[in-house]
Amino acid sequence: MKGHSSSENPRRILGRVGRHEFVGRSQELERIVAQADPLAQPRGILVLLEPSAGVSELLRQAYDQIFNLRSGVVPIYFAFTRNDRTAVSAAIEFLNNFLQQYIAYRRNEPALCQASLTLQDLLELAPPADLEWVGQLVEAYTRQRFSNDDKSLVRFCLGAPRRMPARLGRPFVMLDGAQLAEHMNGAVVLGTEVLRVFNRSEFSFVVAGLRRQILTAAHDAQCNFDMLDTLRFDQLNVEDARKLVEHVASRQHVAINEESRDLLVQQFAGSPLFITTFLQAARERNAKLTSYLECERLYVDELLGGHIQHHFAELLEEVSADAETRLALIHLLGEAAAGNEPVASFEAWRKRLHLDASELEDVLHRLHVQEFVNWDGATIEAGGGPQAWKDYLKVRYRLDVLSEPRALVVADALADSLKRAPHTMARHYKQIAGLSLLELLSRFDCQRVPKTLFSYAQFSRSYKGEAEEEIASGLESETDTFKLPQIVHVASCAAFSAGMRRVCDEGRCLVAHGFDEASYTDEQEVVWLVSEVEAKLEVEADTVQTWCDRLERLAVTSGFRRYQIWLISNEGFSQEASELITRRGAFASSRQQVRLLATHLGDERLSPVVRPEEGDEFLMVLPMGEENELVAANTVEQIARRLNFRPEAINQIKTSVVEACINASEHSFSPDRKIYQRFRVESDRLVITISSRGIVPTNIGSQEGTNSGAFESNDASEERRGWGLKLIRTLMDEVEFERVDEGTSLRMTKYVRHSSS
């Protein structure tokens, strides 16, 4: 058998990408791999997925890691697919798969996992130590196969890993797509059966499925929840989703720029499924994604006839096999998505779909599991699902229900997507620039703060024009303070009133339930209604009036007995507006006050004290040539002055920047003829990085520039040209070439305390 140390580059077995290309979910991956430790107590892990959040690659990555560890724990990965039509066929497939992966592990031959093998082949491949039990398993299976007892056969197949002799190892089964197991024909509910079998076994396992389905299945299987852990998978966060787009685009050789990357992340809400599917489509169509137009064109193609269309069409087929019911569903859901009657009764749906109660229950259950609707047994709230689903419904509704011309539908879909794209990004940018009020409110926690922070008029009188440090010190000495409530629940205003969605962004208009003095009584209960009012200048009285009216209406309709309105704006409020705010008993703060409040409450994210390492970074791209290094030198001079470098040090920095620019221009054969400069100001140093694209100089490591007295050496003028780096090394405190895939990136650091050097 071939040995393989885990410290070596791990072999890719089932993973579709290498470990370094697998983006996000690292904690979850670690958790699963940790459960496969031979010393870990046996436990089940339920992976609860948001639809389209994606888990398959994570489980395949876990498989590869466990396989390569060679710890005696045998990983088994099985994915239910839509091709498995019956519980029996799926269970037989599982048995076959289990034996194949078991023998691959025992023989340490990963290639066997992907081979097409019969049970007889597997029997022949089994190592001598396994021959006996594998032979018995195959023999018993053959008997079961012809027993006409489907339930017993399914249990036998699923229970095969339990038959593995303990001396030969321990199985670690990972089941993917458990929701599909629910929809198979036959007398056996496979999803429930899977959980029943594995929960009673003595080895660890992972079952991944949709979050609305899998917990119900676990309850139906009467699982022992003491032995189960849950991992919840939402969509990827923005950072990981960006990385995923970049990795997949690079792998699929799809040209993409940062703008398109960010649009895809937002448009698909970080869904790994849609992101990878979309980029795969781009590769198949040889499409580049370097503009919104190119992205949306492909998106509309995908909605009407690509992978995305196929995905949703399959889901609809799972919901109902009957074509007429599907059409009626598109009609109903399409109308709901357009905002007409999003909430309806079970009876109303039954009449519209012409189904009997049990058929409708079945349909609704499946729609609910996919989160296309919220169904509580009595009412159905449609309008859920990702944006791609809503767009799919819209085009299907117009094509299949309204029978509109395809060209018109395509043109409108493209125009709508293009019009929506900038708004999608604007919403994202606002979110990033937002004040994270939710986190701020949760920090109130009965802390005492200066009243000035909630009165813009007072703050303005006391501190306008003062430096941040002076304001902070003034606030510290203020005696007029009050205690904030303890906030126990925060949600968007839109969650309380759908109408609010039209006038504000989620996250910028909040309802916070709390208690004064953390005393949980009716008298102490208070609801804070907080809204960021968008305005470039001081907010005027009429806007304040509108917002106060709006929030008061919300309070009244929601039955809030005691409430406090708090308005926030970037630049504060006009005098007239401030007077109105006082009359209405509301609070008002500028963005600056909110940041100071955050500092007071210990929320560093909003602190006005900008940490240099985060805040003071300057980026500049210059074309090569035309003495543009002087532009860089003049810029760095201005930056260095802020750090109070002495004039001599400033000159040394300028000279170094000039030399680095010259080096970048002369040596890189840069294709874009650009010099990328980054100046990072830290408390005690200035870090300058000068990069360029192009070839990586072969002598980069040896460019020490240590030859002294170059004039005396036997060199010609060419060698004198190597003085640039020598000068930089002499003039700067630290000089280092960063590792880059192409071109050069030179990082130079100058410390303030060394300015006299």
Binding site: V658, F711, S717, W723, K726, L727
Partner: protein
């Protein structure tokens, strides 16, 4: 009297000494202009060169390597070179790269010319 040559470099002669003025940034382009002017002055019979750096704020390594070329050429012509009015930072760069071992420094043009006249009077010209 200052002469503005075709290359845009200011220069003038005091007896057999040529004074050439460097610009605010000494790089490849401005260095080559100075070099050309110096050669022109040497060809016209100058026996000493003063390069005045009073306006020079920044120099780069290419500019410095060109200065070395000028010193080479001047030495071959038997013409000593003096750098005048060089700021402290630039002096340090010149020292770092060994220039100051081959050229005299003067605080200003007047001192440079005076130093050169002493040198040219005591040193025979070799052609």
């Amino acid at each position: 009297m200052d002469i503005s040559t075709g290359s845009g470099v200011r220069s003038h002669c005091v007896g057999t000494t040529a004074v050439v003025y460097a610009s605010d940034y000494l790089n490849k382009l401005t260095g080559e202009k100075i070099e050309r002017e110096c050669r022109r002055q040497l060809d016209s019979g100058c026996r000493g060169l003063v390069i005045d750096f009073s306006n020079t704020e920044l120099v780069n390594s290419i500019g410095i390597s060109i200065l070395l070329g000028i010193i080479d050429v001047a030495e071959k012509n038997g013409a000593p070179v003096v750098f005048a009015d060089v700021n402290n930072q630039t002096v340090k760069l010149f020292e770092m790269l060994g220039l100051t071992r081959h050229v005299a420094l003067a605080k200003d043009e007047e001192e440079a010319i005076s130093n050169l006249s002493r040198l040219t009077q005591s040193t025979p010209v070799n052609h």
